[in-house]
């Protein structure tokens, strides 16, 4: 297991380097130069000041030196300061990241509790009307845009019953019920859109497992179908489904951006959108980098869990 962990961590290094290069390149592509924005913000326009700022930011150095300085700063937890609020980007991320993770975690619970039972049912009732219905539901969930569902949930209950989902955010530690009440609708919507892929995967894996010899043996022993499914098939079929959690992390964070905007959840997605509209590039690139690294780490964790659950993978 130790060799497997070391191998996985080593495999992460080149990807991490490329990820940092992509984020760094995006910073260098920013139109009009960050210095112009800073000068405009501080109402300074002399050439002398520009040279001073360039030197202080290290922009007068060759590009590869700038890259290494930038990586060095990141390793020390310095992602720059917001152009508008003048607060460290790390502070803003530390405030918003847990909120997005909470939304993602709740959505994942919804997705798994919808997808796994339907996936199992669909496999058990292969090629029946119920199976077709379940598969159609899964394809439909892939097609329905979450922002449309979010819009419908905002508009129609309000028109029909004079009820609207709560839009006032309260931290979980202050008021757990109020917090969950606010998070409930966006996490259900996000969870439903994620459930589609997990459901298809559960069904496929279940169908494969149900054709294995040990399932035939279990049935031949005279075990009831429930025990065969729950004790023998389900455990084996769920191992690959664990990998999906890692693969769905980008979908989860991407979906959170839109739903945070609709339901005014002050997470990282809303921070990113506000920064984009204010052209606050240090915040934009900070979020960009943290999202990339968070997803890489989630995938690493999932890979290691997978290796732990399935000894074959370790070798």
């Amino acid at each position: 297991m130790q060799a497997f962990i070391i191998r996985r961590i080593l495999a992460l290094i080149p990807t991490l380097i490329f990820t940092s290069v992509i984020v760094f390149a995006s910073i260098r592509m920013i139109p009009g130069d960050v210095i112009d924005l800073m000068l405009a913000q501080n109402d300074i326009s002399t050439g002398n000041d520009r040279a001073v700022i360039e030197a202080s930011l290290g922009l007068d150095k060759p590009i590869y030196v700038q890259y290494f300085v930038w990586v060095g700063n990141i390793l020390q937890g310095d992602l720059g300061r917001s152009l508008w609020q003048n607060t460290p980007v790390t502070e803003q991320l530390a405030a918003t990241l847990p909120i997005t993770f909470e939304l993602g975690f709740l959505a994942l619970i919804v997705a798994l509790s919808v997808a796994i039972p339907i996936g199992i049912y669909s496999a058990m009732a292969q090629d029946t009307a119920g199976d077709y219905l379940a598969r159609s539901f899964s394809l439909l969930m892939l097609a329905v845009p979450s922002f449309w569902l979010g819009t419908l949930v905002m508009v129609f209950p309000s028109v029909w019953w004079r009820w609207a989902p709560p839009l006032q955010y309260t931290p979980f530690l202050e008021d757990p019920l109020g917090n969950l009440g606010h998070m409930m609708v966006p996490s259900i919507l996000l969870g439903l859109s994620l459930s589609a892929v997990t459901m298809r995967m559960t069904r496929t894996m279940m169908l494969e497992v149900l054709r294995q010899d040990y399932i035939r043996t279990a049935r031949a022993k005279g075990l009831s179908e429930n025990i065969v499914v729950m004790r023998h098939a389900l455990r084996n079929c769920l191992i690959p489904v664990v990998t999906l959690i890692g693969l769905q992390a980008p979908l989860l964070i991407g979906g959170a951006v839109i739903l945070e905007q609709i339901f005014v959840v002050p997470g990282m997605g809303l921070l990113l959108l506000e920064a984009v509209f204010q052209r606050d590039y240090p915040v934009v690139t900070g979020v960009f980098l943290v999202v990339g690294i968070a997803i890489l780490l989630i995938n690493l964790f999932v890979d290691l869990t997978y290796g732990f659950l399935d000894p074959k993978v370790r070798h």
Binding site: P14, T15, L16, I17, F18, T19, V21, I22, S26, M29, I30, P31, L139, L140, L142, A143, V144, P145, F147, W148, T151, L152, V155, F156, S158, V159, R200, T204, L207, P250, L251, L252, I253, G254, G255, V257, I258, Q261, L272, L273, V276, F277, R279, Y281, V284, T285, V287, F288, V291, G292, I295, L296, N299
Partner: protein
């Protein structure tokens, strides 16, 4: 002894034959294909089909519910929603096909280079693809749009690159399989040049995967563009995109005219759903190994 001419077999037209099979074996997928064609038709002929101009306002007929005169009702400044939906379909067709086309070309180039040549090039490109796929599509799109600004060409190029790089992995996998086939080794052993092998042996065999990839990418691109437009980062107004029709100032009026929230999302869902089931059916027929997955 006179030679007797063998009767010629009727020439099989692959396109017609394939679609006959599609309707026979995958009726649901075929319905998806029909909806896809109808969507294409509406998009191409939006100028002729739309009963009103896309920005033709009539303040006397604002916020009218669906009727015979206005099938999908009118919005807060009296514009016909059906007409805007049709013009929106036109934009979706343009963006969907151009970006999916670009994505397919990028996927083929990267996938064939990595899959056929392998080695250090493959290793370097694949690590880049890994890093690229780390970022959520929407986050990557938002960041790049914030840098290059919104507009049709920018969105087509960004979506093309986004899905092209990610899709190259699928083509690469397919090329690696084909590279090891006997006919490829035979072509190599008789001295066929690499461009010849790529053009006449690898590409034709990778085409089924390319067709499926292109079809599913059209749906993904339409959905991504709508998401961007919804966030106000897509094609700028007054162009009526399906995503932007659900956001902006129009959103405030949905409480007075709930039909404004229905039509764009419904069209988007139906089109993407149709493309997905059509893509699934194509994959089942063209690549039997993937059947049912």
């Amino acid at each position: 002894m006179s030679e007797t001419a063998l009767p010629l077999l009727p020439q099989r037209r692959p396109f017609v034959f394939f679609h006959q099979r599609l309707f026979r074996e995958k009726p649901l997928g075929a319905i998806g294909g029909v909806v896809f064609v109808v969507f294409l038709f509406c998009g191409i002929f939006a100028d002729v089909l739309a009963p009103f101009g896309m920005n033709e306002t009539d303040m006397l007929r604002r916020l009218q519910s669906p009727s015979w005169a206005h099938w999908f009702g009118t919005d807060h400044i009296g514009r016909d929603v059906l007409s805007r939906i049709l013009y929106g379909a036109q934009l979706s067709v343009i963006v969907g096909f151009m970006a999916a086309g670009l994505a397919t070309v990028i996927s083929i180039v990267l996938g064939v280079v990595c899959g056929y040549f392998g080695g250090a090039i493959d290793m370097a490109i694949q690590r880049f693809v890994d890093a690229w796929m780390t970022f959520p599509d929407l986050v990557l799109l938002i960041v790049v749009i914030s840098i290059v600004g919104p507009g049709v060409p920018q969105i087509v190029i960004i979506l093309g690159c986004l899905y092209g790089i990610a899709g190259s992995r699928i083509i690469r996998g397919s090329v690696i399989g084909i590279r090891e086939n006997m006919y490829t080794h035979a072509a190599q052993s008789i001295g066929a040049s690499t461009p010849h092998i790529l053009t006449f042996h690898i590409l034709p065999n990778v085409m089924p995967v390319v067709i499926v990839l292109f079809t599913t990418r059209v749906g993904a691109v339409i959905l991504a563009e709508a998401g961007l437009s919804f966030l106000g980062l897509g094609i700028p107004p007054p162009s009526p995109t399906w995503g932007s029709m659900l956001s902006g100032t129009g959103r405030t009026y949905m409480y007075l005219g709930p039909w404004l929230a229905l039509a764009p999302g419904l069209c988007l869902t139906v089109v993407v759903y149709a493309i997905n089931i059509y893509g699934d059916a194509l994959r089942d027929l063209l690549d039997p190994r993937m059947r049912g997955r």
